[in-house]
Symmetry: C3
Subunit: 308 residues, 3 copies
Amino acid sequence: MSPRLRHLTTLEHLPRETIERLLDRAEALRDACAHGTRKLDVLAGRTVLNLFFEPSTRTRTSFELAARRLGADVINFDIGFSSTSKGEELFDTLHTLEAMHLDAIIVRHKHSGTPDELVRHAMSGVSVINAGDGNRAHPTQGLLDALTIRQHRPDFDNLTVVICGDIRHSRVARSDIHAFSTLGIKQIRLCGPTPLMPTAEEFPHCRHYDDFDAAIDGADAVIMLRLQKERMASIDLPDEAAYFAHYGLDQRRLARAAKGCLVMHPGPINRGIEIAPDVADGAQSRILEQVGNGVFVRMAVLNEVLAR
Amino acid sequence: MSPRLRHLTTLEHLPRETIERLLDRAEALRDACAHGTRKLDVLAGRTVLNLFFEPSTRTRTSFELAARRLGADVINFDIGFSSTSKGEELFDTLHTLEAMHLDAIIVRHKHSGTPDELVRHAMSGVSVINAGDGNRAHPTQGLLDALTIRQHRPDFDNLTVVICGDIRHSRVARSDIHAFSTLGIKQIRLCGPTPLMPTAEEFPHCRHYDDFDAAIDGADAVIMLRLQKERMASIDLPDEAAYFAHYGLDQRRLARAAKGCLVMHPGPINRGIEIAPDVADGAQSRILEQVGNGVFVRMAVLNEVLAR
Amino acid sequence: MSPRLRHLTTLEHLPRETIERLLDRAEALRDACAHGTRKLDVLAGRTVLNLFFEPSTRTRTSFELAARRLGADVINFDIGFSSTSKGEELFDTLHTLEAMHLDAIIVRHKHSGTPDELVRHAMSGVSVINAGDGNRAHPTQGLLDALTIRQHRPDFDNLTVVICGDIRHSRVARSDIHAFSTLGIKQIRLCGPTPLMPTAEEFPHCRHYDDFDAAIDGADAVIMLRLQKERMASIDLPDEAAYFAHYGLDQRRLARAAKGCLVMHPGPINRGIEIAPDVADGAQSRILEQVGNGVFVRMAVLNEVLAR
């Protein structure tokens, strides 16, 4: 059996067995919840702290719910988002929190690599869980996306998945690609305007597309990324309507995908920019299933790193 | 027996039996607390979320205490009050929260009708409780005001109650009027400057007054509303001192009311604007009893909508 | 036995027996934690409210952890730090919170004396705990500093302790001096630029120094205070480097102290202003032990004022 994780900062280089163990546990927690088990006590007496240097009410809430449903106490350490804590100041904060005997720190930070720096500087047995760092990794999102696909299409070695949008700056895309690659998804296609695409070297096993119609052709799942509006300036398109025309998911494009193609989005969605409202709300949309799976995946991760 | 409530968005059209059941339960919880029962576990495993689009530390804290004293977990979803979430964006937030398996959402929003919109768009069994929407309703305030009066004067069919101040823009006044009318209070008198009075059509069974001395004459309870300072511009009075002279409650005016007239205010009070300090702190003031009853009423409401 | 405390607003005038009881209890809680007891239920059903009018994530978190580890519920009353609540407005807030049946209020306020004003105006059995008021008192910091010294050097009647920095404006220094004096520390030396020193009359039993080299000579513990950058203007030094040269703790100065001299700081530290990084992180630093002791001391205080 692969060793128990003490931290989760990225899915890169994680063994397939570890990822599958986390997904299996998330699935078991989902089943238990469906049968009425709303709260466990496996983490009773443990304290988890949310250390968010970027605001994200949704992700913070998902982690908070996950921790509480396992019986842990949760502290929201309101750091003030104007603070750009880094270097010694950040490590002093870490050591202060460790001295208070916390069990896990869930960190979001705009600088890529911050969670790993915390792991390197930690002096106690505290666990660090990455809730998103810069454009580098958002591992629980990668896990929940893999779980959502697996619930509908466990035949990963037959699947083609498209990720469309601002992949270059997306930690969601990177963690998705790491999860899907490790789990043996047959083909991963990346699509977006050239300035928002990763280099060819970063993911040599993925196919790159500029034409979304070509990318989605026959796909089994399509993950639409949120367009940060400040990115519009960097691409050669006049406005959001033009972006939607080229890279938005509407019913016409969805019809080019395989029958039953899963429609996914990490949220919050920009209706009419990256996805048409009737597709976001349509029968093939798995967006809300992703949100539900997010809580179960985070429970699985907390249980993995904290259970005695 | 009237059916169990699944949501509470307004007191309008609620059967008298339902309102009385909620008041009776609040009273029972108050008795239990007085006998030392500080915490129950009837809502253990349930999660309640505060979704406040307008800041209100007092009301949020009252709901949080109520939920915790029933054993529920409470999540404060810090939405950022600059956000004026509405329409699809609001419903996406609702559906995201539902997907996380929340049991109840306590919502405050500046737009009248938002809680009912949430009820209409909810896709799961989540309960919606209105903590104040625009100038339309603040049902738990209506209940706690009714409870406070009932504790002193259960003979509702003998009572005259005055509400004084900015009634036109007051959700407190509306929910009070709905509660008092349904419970059979004999006479409801409304008093305030003309631009701050409701239309004659809105509450045809209430008596309208411009002269507070006349309105308070022989009254059994008087509810003073908080004056939002930005309303001063809309009324024909030079300053707050003039407002107090016309519509403020002082000892001289209180002496015109019936002996033992209850003095009430939803808080926070503006001393010297709508109420004299010695009246707010005087022997007839029920203002702090209202606050205490607020927690018990909210426990009763949460218990009603969430108990299995 | 000295009577049980109902409030803790200052250490001044507390009997030595009371302070020692609190330190002994903190020590016992620390031992229990070291042996695996992470959570107790002695305060189950009790509710503690953080009422912070000045931001302090660290201290608030320390109190929140302390309360939860005793089984209490914790409410963070987010008052908004722009509010400078005082006088009647503050007492209305107090009475509102009391009406909600809270058991303890932990208050931080920029005005000296606010916690005592709350005690005087409280109408219920609520306990008030001072988490720092103006430049007057920070009693749990005084206790945790005394505990930290006692763990290493219980021979108080042999000890010389130096406090260095902006003593005039420091509630930490005042509570330290009160604790150390009552507990019989042999000699307390105060050092800092003249405009930041207290009057000679305030602490006649302490020795005053301008020369840090002289002050630290043979000392058994040295407590460095955080320099608020806005104080630089009031002292006759050109910049922070000059401050560090005169009043900063570096290895050269530390070598003048007694062997094994304890290095302490209430945090957060300004590296290179009041303390050299290699001293802050060095073998003699007790800064993180102070943080850990802070939680145990706050548990002891909550237990003292709230246990039935």
